[in-house]
Assembly symmetry: C2
DNA sequence: CTTCGAAGTAACCGTAAAAGTTACATTGTG
DNA sequence: CACAATGTAACTTTTACGGTTACTTCGAAG
């Protein structure tokens, strides 16, 4: 796949859970979310499982099982969602080690690593500006 | 692969070409670059071909064939290299379309698209701060 | 204490993108 | 013409993600 769709799906799932609750349809299930995302419920459970580990949602089992947000929408930023996903680095080093006998081969990774760290931080800073409440507002505004 | 190693390899190739020229070893070939990157020369030719299309390097054929930078190192930023590569988007939408009959399914992409556009711009802005001269300096400093 | 609906999870399959490889045509200077 | 290296098509390999199946676990309700 080109790029990573997980942040999109995570934002979709979380806003769906909240909207579902607001319109009084009861606890959201992975099957319900999957029906809106158009994917398999297991994919949703895997993704929400990581959100739960990060403290963004709670899951309930047994009767009336399903998912609820752990905090209000306006208190969750896309940065937190992004970090909950534990995404792979945006930029990778060489697939197989470069020629370390060459000055460039041995020096390029130490030179690029801090650059990539700053870029990743810039991404997180940008994502930190948007809350799930912003997302839900824009979702509803697009109709 | 996790993340995209092309920017790493591109920066590696360009700094190698310049260092090779500076130490008077003649025109850089894709085979020479590949030996430092530890990959196949065709991979390097494909990548440098896109750099050439973007005006960052010149390629010569015939006798004394090879690659040279089109501009001084300090006039080429990592942003230009990144854009020359034409990388896939950092964040993707759903692999298959969400359920458009659902308010969230129909609204999530319009809501996320501008967020991703801002994030991509933040990445480019950060990459614009670093020139290939900075990279070469740090490469040599790491020894 | 059984039932039942949904979470949790392991294991596997399918697919797509990138990297690697081979092979060969093209170029352009000596 | 010889040559060395680029240009490029076509194919294979690798890898990661998403999708799928199947099964276990949970826990409130009846």
């Amino acid at each position: 796949m080109a790029g990573n769709s997980q942040l999109t799906v995570a934002a979709h799932a979380l806003t769906w859970i909240e909207l579902h609750r607001r319109i009084g349809e009861g606890t959201a299930t992975s099957e319900g979310v999957a029906g809106s995302v158009n994917t398999n419920p297991v994919v949703i459970r895997r993704l929400l499982g990581r959100m739960r580990d990060a403290g963004l949602v709670h899951s309930r089992r047994g009767a009336d099982a399903g998912w609820v947000l752990a905090r209000p929408l306006e208190d969750i930023t896309l940065r937190e969602v992004y970090e909950a996903i534990e995404p792979p680095p945006l930029f990778a080093m060489h697939r197989s080690d470069p020629n370390l006998g060459c000055p460039v081969g041995s020096g390029i990774q130490p030179a690029m690593r801090p650059v990539y760290a700053r870029v990743e931080e810039a991404v997180r800073t940008e994502l930190d500006r948007i809350t799930l409440a912003d997302v839900l507002r824009d979702v509803l505004a697009s109709r």
